[in-house]
Structure formats: C-alpha cells, structure tokens
Amino acid sequence: MRGYQAAVANVNVTFNLEAPKRHNASIVTRPDWRKMGTRSLPTAVLATPHQYHSPATSMPPTRNVIEVDSQKIDLKNRHLAAFLAWLLPGAGHYYQGRMTKASLFFVCIMSTWVLGFALGGGHVVYASWQPGDKRWHYFLQAGVGTAALPALVQGNRMRKMTINGATSPAYKPLWGGFMAPPHRPVIEDSTDEVSAWYAVSGAGYEMGSFYTMIAGLLNILVIYDAYSGPLSVPISGRKEKDGEGETSDEETTNEKETSS
C-alpha cells in the first residue's frame, strides 16, 4: 500500500498554467518501481513534457530532463543522442553522461555482434539485393551502425562490377573481402560462394546471422532509450488484481486525472 501511495504521489501531475512556450520541456516524472516492489502499478502515462511538471520537484522546468527510478536524467539533445546511439552502441548514453548504461550497451551489443561475425566466418554481414541472394538480414544488422557500414561500400562496389547478373572478372573486393558480397551469380540449390561459406562454417553461419541480427535489433531499443529515456515498466509485468489494495491500469489513469 505504501508503494501505491508513493506511485500516486509520483504521477500526481498538474497542469502548469505558467508553462513556457511550446516545446519548452519540463521535468517528467515516472514512477519508481524499485520502491514500489515488483508487483505494483503498471505504466503510468504521462502527458506531453511541455504541459506538465511535477509539483514534488522544486527544480525549474529544464529542457529534456526526466526522472526515472528517482534519478534525474538530462537527455540533452535527444536527436543527437539517438544518432550517436545508432552510430556506436552506447555512444548516445555516453554523450548524455549515463556511463554505466553506455558501457553495458556497448559490451552486450558489440560482443554479440563480434561473436556472431566470428561464428559465421566473417561472411554473415554483407549487403546484396540480387535475385537469388536478397540479403534481407542486413536491414536488421544495420541497426548497429558503423560496424555494418563497410558492407554498404562493398555492396555498392559489387553492384557496379556486376554485369548481366555475374560478377566481372576484374572485380576485386576491398579490405581483403571484409563484408564483401559473394561472387555472382548466387543461385539457390547450386554450388556457389555462399554454399562454400555454409560448408566451412556449418551451423555457425546461421547462428552468426542470428547473432548479428539480434545485435542490430537490440540497438534499436538502445536508440529509443537514448531518445526518450527508459520505459520504466513494472518488473514482473503483471497487472494488479482488484481487492488487494492495489490497482489496475484504468484505475491509475483515473487517479491521475482526478488529481489533476
């Protein structure tokens, strides 16, 4: 019950009549789930930053400052942070001064990426959109930013050297073939360079593709976090039952509206 009261206090937002002009953001508080235990309130929906501020905080409205888990976070230039986060996992958080999370993201995502790349024999990341070899995996792998960009350069080079669906004999990949597409034509169920890669790496080729794709997808979450902060959802994800002194989604919304 104490956790519930704390939550209501946290989401008790009021309309700020003296709010400055549009887009002048203010402090947005999000409930501290750590204090409320793992089975407390569901996500509280907060209003647009420029309309509300928390009466619990005496700080003047500051641009792009949010409060999560009782910690104030200055997102700074969130567009730049998101771009940096895409460019290098963790870089956006480093820019915002969130060092622990920057390190965690960098280590987790880049280790997944490198491990996948190694498992696949260094051939799982390449950009190609040719008949028989439409490498859709690259769209997900590109989520890690800089680490996947050499594939674009190699892919473009290969595209220019492809004549009538076959790679020109004059083609020589850059950087020893790092992230270079396979020689064309690539035809399913036939012997080509991709099948040779499969033969060498075995299941590692598939696993390497999955690892690198997952790394890219994880970085999309990180980009979102750099742009707008943590989602701050209950840890267990369970909804509270009525009659237990706790509350549900709808009740939370109603409480917030009443208090405002």
Partner: protein
C-alpha cells in the same frame, strides 16, 4: 531424442545474457533494478522456451 547436438544449446547462453541485460537497461535507470528486471526477463524467456521444448517433445512422442 534431439536431432542436434546438445552443445548447440550453448549458443543460447551469451544471447540470453545480452538480451536480458539490454532489455532491462532500456526499462530502468538504476543498476539494481536493471539487474532485477534482467533476471526476470531471462527467467521468463527460458521458461517459455522450456515449455515449447516440452510441447514439441510430447508431440514428437505421440506421432
């Protein structure tokens, strides 16, 4: 029983660690809360996959 080597399951370990930690960290800011959320996520995903595994095993046994 399994058509692949059980050692292939080791591929799962680094993946679940990375996914859980990143997932937890994008939902919280405080380190202990991040770790707690990560643990819950890892447990949930592992449990879910275990249920699927058992279901497939039963289906395989029945057919």
């Amino acid at each position: 029983m399994m058509s692949i080597s059980p050692t292939y399951l080791l591929y799962y370990v680094p993946l679940i660690v990375a996914i859980s930690l990143v997932f937890g960290a994008t939902r919280h800011e405080e380190t202990s809360t991040v770790l707690m959320h990560s643990f819950y996520t890892a447990r949930w995903v592992t449990g879910f996959m275990a249920v699927i595994f058992v279901a497939l095993l039963v289906i395989n046994w029945l057919l």
